[in-house]
Symmetry: C2
Subunit: 382 residues, 2 copies
């Protein structure tokens, strides 16, 4: 039985859009070609006649097209249900919200686990390397498909925030506003390092088989380990301490290597759960796309005198994976280029996960920002 | 050819001391028995006639008995050569410095890779679980062997700092002073979490074989991965950024999964180097000992009215693995119990590694502290 929250979208459905540029393929940033490409997506709310109320919501590493509402077989709603729905931050009574699974993903979009039409087998490591720019390029086809000339807003946290930045970099004239949260214009060496140990964990698992594991089952231990490492970086030291401290699953030390601290059990559980819904090769490709991402420098994000995209940049005080300092660098960079940008650092203790949890504060900020942008759009102003 | 630094101890030698309480074994904190036990150790300087100038230097997770000077076959000196030697912080012209490899270690002391006399094979996972208290208990036998009634000082960083605290907890009347650096009275859930993913990395490697790998070779990939994870936590975000930034090993992105960022190559290199000198099972046992460690609370560290041990507590501003906050908690706890404690937070950018690198500042602090303690010891004062 589906237990729905207040203001829920109710049952929603994932749809699929297949496209390809002639001759049936898209040229990627690496120079390689890929096609045909399918994107899994969901939409909530109604696109207005002028097509001026469309918001593209962009997911993080482990997210998917199912941002809000319920699927018939699931007890939990989509990953940003707190933010997307009637009366919520991304108010589906006013706006038409689209969320697509990224190119390279494993939740319905074309990725390394998809069938390679050339061989009839999963691409595995024959899948070409993709970048955040390629993800945005694929989404652009979806937006074209809806006949939307200019998105009211692109918004997302973490890797979703990178896409929100890349949209403004690739298509400044098609984005009225951008809300990058808990993100950066480029990964630091520490962020690359954490991604790399996750990839090494997967590739060190013999069950990975050089990526050709689809007939044999996932490299579960490697992927679970990558997820465990990730989870430590998503929580703050404080939130982890408040949640687990040194509590044991039993009364005394076991003096064995069986997980006995609650935090050990939690990480194992998160890892084991993850392998049931996520593809190991996608983990490799998507973390690599994040590591490659770099929209710093003069060339990439346009000048405010050449684009009218407004920004709301949100960071979280205890986020030690995507430091508030990285968001402030983005803000300084945009302001130095005459871009209209509002910055807010939310005093959360949740660490990087905060962008999924601090919805009260986010709702207040996003609602105000969007009504300002939508109002001026309706009036034909900047 | 050995290239020696200024003020070097020159060539030094690791020695071995085997002991056992009758009937040839030591009872561990877990209740299990172990024996006979060998400790590898080195000494530098000369023990004075009154045996009042002995300092026990205590190593961290990956350290060993070789703290200073050179071995004939090595180009690099011991792990704390910057701090131990003639005229240095632990001045071997004044003090007799002892460093022993911990119980459970793999560098000459009895540990899981040692031969179990009961079976004639390596202990592997039949080795009993050991704790920081057990490590100190084993060292106590070594100190007895030298006929030293009271150590002038016990000092170390990270796990070495835990031992420096445990010595004061177990034998307050045998320790004139203690210098715990970059350490904590107990691991937080985040510290346990990082240790646990390291252990999982080792145990997920099929080459680990439930610990029985000694006839087949190490679980190299798992152990290297654990070390890579560790290295990220030993450096600060800033020091990593200054050292690597986003520099590539070649000019352009490779669009492959071969390490291409310099930081990726560095971590691989550190991991590969580590497996040549460290035993995977020891990694499991020693991280577990650190996770179990807890000298907080009324019962464990004695009251300053019952002991005369003085403390110099040193923390490093950018250390995010052992937070300065954890050292301040230790200091507050000691002060609340009338213990003579000096606290210094060094403004280093090196992260947790700082205790091995900030030797100028450490030397100034330690020299001053030791001369005060040694002076009062010589005068028979507190």
């Amino acid at each position: 039985m589906v237990v729905q929250r207040m203001n829920s979208l109710g049952l929603v459905e994932t749809k699929f859009f297949t496209f390809a540029e002639p001759p049936n393929e898209m040229t990627l940033e690496s120079g390689q070609k890929l096609g045909p490409i399918t994107l899994a997506y969901e939409t909530y709310g109604v696109l207005n006649e002028e097509k001026t109320n469309a918001i593209l919501v962009l997911h993080a590493l482990s997210g998917d097209a199912h941002a809000a509402g319920y699927h018939p077989d699931e007890k939990k709603p989509g990953w940003w249900d707190d933010m997307v729905g009637p009366g919520k931050a991304f108010d589906t009574e006013k706006y038409f919200v689209i969320c697509s699974n990224v190119l390279g993903g494993c939740r319905g979009s074309t990725g390394p686990s998809s069938i390679n039409p050339g061989t009839g087998k999963p691409y595995a490591l024959h899948f070409p390397m993709i970048t955040i720019r390629d993800m945005v390029e694929a989404q652009r086809h979806l937006i074209d498909h809806f006949g939307i000339g200019k998105l009211l807003c692109v918004a997302g946290g973490s890797m979703g925030g990178m896409q929100a930045l890349q949209w403004a970099a690739s298509y400044p004239d098609r984005v009225r506003s951008s809300i990058p949260m808990a993100t950066a214009v480029k990964h630091s060496s520490q962020q690359i390092a954490f991604d790399e140990v996750g990839r090494q964990a997967i590739m060190a698992d013999p069950a990975w088989r050089g990526g050709d594991y689809y007939e044999h089952g996932q490299p579960e231990r490697g992927l679970a380990l990558a997820r465990m490492i990730g989870h430590i970086t998503y929580m703050s030291e404080q939130s982890m301490e408040e949640k687990f401290s040194r509590r044991l699953k039993n009364d005394n030390y076991s003096f064995t290597f069986v997980p006995e601290f609650e935090v050990e059990g939690y990480l194992r559980n998160r890892g084991d759960h993850f392998v049931r819904r996520f593809d190991a090769n996608t983990y490799l490709y998507i973390t690599k796309a994040m590591d490659y991402f770099d929209v710093a420098g003069e060339k990439l994000l346009p000048d405010g005198r050449q684009m009218d995209t407004r920004f709301l940049v949100i960071a979280f005080k205890s986020d030690w994976l995507y430091l508030p300092q990285q968001s402030r660098e983005l803000v300084d960079f945009l302001r130095g280029r005459f871009v209209d940008v509002t910055y807010c650092e939310i005093k959360s203790t949740y660490g990087h996960d905060a962008f999924l949890l601090e919805f009260d504060e986010e709702t207040r900020l996003v609602k105000h920002f969007l009504s300002r942008v939508y109002g001026s759009a309706a009036n034909g102003q900047r």
